[in-house]
């Protein structure tokens, strides 16, 4: 499938693509910011980062090689350790989705289509030019998308994720895959991984995780921040410089602490507390969380691979040597992961149950992208499990296309009303 397109046509596609992309960003950002009066002030940094989402005026990337990654199974610590900078390029733009449909069948997950479109047109967050695009082979559609990316002569690299995470063979296979990945990183960036650089990287990421955990703890105590803001914060982790991101999140945490003291809460007093799970909402596709909070709900916890699942678990290393640090980092990205591509995946049910308990959730909204059969398959199991806990679940199937607004509103409103009555 050699996509033979004339140079001029490609340039034209790229131009309109980026115009659509930035229009979409402006529209969504306006929706996210203006419709909600009580956003915390320190969220302004994150809104600005999304403002310049594509322009990439970020100085911290200067002079460093960028390794693009997708999904959550790519060990960021290893990329930092070889002196490169990881940027996660899972795309949420409907504009790129339309480009991607030219390569992929209609019934494909919009995220995969959008990401392939972004890769093809080189419209990536922060206008980066990655030396390597790491594609963990989680669900089938991403595997095939990676293959197509290679045919488009993009520097794709397949990271073989085992189909299960419980057996020892899978873990040893994963350790070997990660070790080969480190060798590839070393050859691509030209630097050698050293004990010091990996230790520094682990600590850097751990500090970011510590801040996120504090952020999570604050959200648990009181509804002081909208779910959509929380998702924006974690999405910024994709492309922002990690040390600055940590600094900004700690400032946000301080402000939230002040809000808790002064009892400034968001949303209406007893608005139903929603747990969002399923296919990840990635900026600019913030349709669902924004809509929920517009209609009076409050998203208190999101079990997405674009939010908590990506940042939650921290590495503990026994002996600070490469022979123990690399397997430790590898394990951190395999063992606690609740990605539905692993079977059995009752860790995810337990994490949702814990989320429901900790955040005293009233209702669960399960978002499935049309075409993503991984989450669709798991929706029955998760749904039954949540029903057994006495919490009602709403299954939403949507994609990046903004025009199913009407249907979503009726469903969400009905669901929120039923939750309000129950409360």
């Amino acid at each position: 499938m050699q996509h033979s397109v004339s140079k001029d046509r490609f340039e034209r596609m790229r131009k309109t693509g980026s115009i659509h992309y930035s229009m979409e960003i402006k529209k969504n950002l306006a929706e996210i910011v203006d419709k909600f009066p009580d956003n915390p002030k320190s969220m302004q940094y994150f809104y600005d980062r999304y403002e310049h989402f594509l322009s990439g005026d970020d100085s911290s990337f200067k002079g460093k090689k960028v390794v693009a990654s997708m999904c959550i199974h790519v060990p960021l610590e290893l990329i930092y350790a070889v002196g490169a900078v990881p940027v996660r390029i899972c795309a949420g733009a409907y504009a790129m989705d339309q480009i991607g449909t030219e390569f992929l069948p209609a019934k494909t997950c919009p995220l995969v289509k959008s990401t392939l479109g972004a890769i093809y047109l080189d419209i990536l967050p922060g206008n980066i030019d990655p030396v390597l695009i790491v594609n963990p082979a989680t669900c089938d559609q991403k595997k095939k998308m990676g293959e197509m990316g290679e045919e488009l002569s993009k520097p794709l690299y397949l990271l073989e994720v085992p189909p299960t995470k419980d057996t020892e063979e899978a873990r040893r296979y994963w350790h070997r895959v990660i070790k080969r990945f480190v060798k590839k990183l070393e050859s691509v960036t030209g630097n050698k991984i050293t004990r010091r650089s990996l230790k520094r990287a682990i600590k850097m990421v751990a500090k970011a995780q510590a801040e996120y955990r504090r952020f999570n703890q604050l959200r648990k105590t009181a509804p002081v921040i909208y779910g959509k803001d929380a998702i924006l914060v974690t999405n910024a982790y994709f492309f922002d410089d990690i040390e600055r991101w940590t600094q900004k999140v700690s400032e946000l945490n301080d402000e939230l602490e002040k809000r808790i003291e002064q009892k400034i809460y968001v949303g209406k007093p007893h608005s139903p507390r929603i747990l969002l799970t399923g296919s990840p909402s990635i900026f600019p596709n913030m349709k669902l969380p924004v809509l929920i909070e517009e209609l009076g709900g409050l998203v208190v916890y999101e079990e997405f691979c674009s939010t908590s699942r990506m940042i939650w678990d921290t590495v503990a290393v026994d002996e600070w040597f490469l022979y123990d640090m690399i397997p430790a980092v590898a394990d951190r990205y395999l063992k606690p992961s609740t990605c539905p591509n692993f079977t059995p995946n009752n860790d995810r049910k337990r994490k949702i149950a814990k989320g429901i308990e900790d955040f005293s959730v009233d209702g669960v909204i399960y978002q499935t992208f049309s075409g993503c059969q991984l989450y669709d398959m798991e929706s029955r199991m998760v749904g039954n499990f949540v029903e057994s806990m006495g919490i009602s679940t709403l299954f939403i199937e949507s994609d990046y296309n903004p025009d199913d607004f009407g249907q979503l509103t009726t469903r969400l409103e009905a669901f929120l009303d039923s939750l309000k009555n129950k409360k």
């Binding site: 009602s392 409103e413 009555n421």
Partner: protein, 267 residues
Amino acid sequence: MKYFVGIDIGSTTIKIAIINEEKELVAKGASPTGSRFNQNAVDALDLLLFRNNIKKEDIAYTVSTGYGRKLFKDSDENVNELTANAVGARAFQQDGVKIRTIINVGGQDTKVILLDENGDIKNFVMNDKCAAGTGRFLDIAARNLEVDIIDMGSLHFEAKDSPLPVNSTCAVFAESEIISLLAAGHHVNEIVSGIHYSIARRISRLAARGRIEDDVLFDGGTALNKGMVEALENELMRKIHIHPHPQFTTAIGSAHIALKKFIRVSV
């Protein structure tokens, strides 16, 4: 005497219901939505008031619902049509019947709503993406068969032997299939019952996903069609209750909500 107005602005028709303080249905009226539905809605309301000589001032509270609920200017409040439907169904209290499931086949979508003991929505499934299994499918079929939609029901019972299998559920293809069946010389009533069964099968599959429970209420415009009711009863293999004014359940529901909201506001 205070009156409460519930106005359901649907995709195809606008339905208005007026109840008085004792929750009796005083007046109901339906008129096509058309394009300027805000203006149409106001005219329909005035017409209904005039016909039942109710003065505008006696209306204490109006609640709008349905797709156009947010755009109808002079309603005091707007409510989600699923909630309105539930309240409307529960208002229809036949003795000894506890409605737990509402199947609402509207013009543009089909909704299956499950209620818990005290009438709150427990769960619901919707099909609003595809015309199959909705009122629109019947309109198209009626137009093709050059038959008036109202006597579709009676035609259904004239069919003597088993209904003709109409296998294409998609409204667009059904059109061509109906024409080919007519050309093949099949009788109109066989085709009509076949269509009823295809819609009923589609609705029952949707209902199965919602895991419906007993005492099912069938409402929405399509419920007027007796044939449809019989086909659905066979497909669901359980007794179905029909609302006395199936087309106005949601409007009545929103009127009741207007009453409840008025009492809470004034007290």
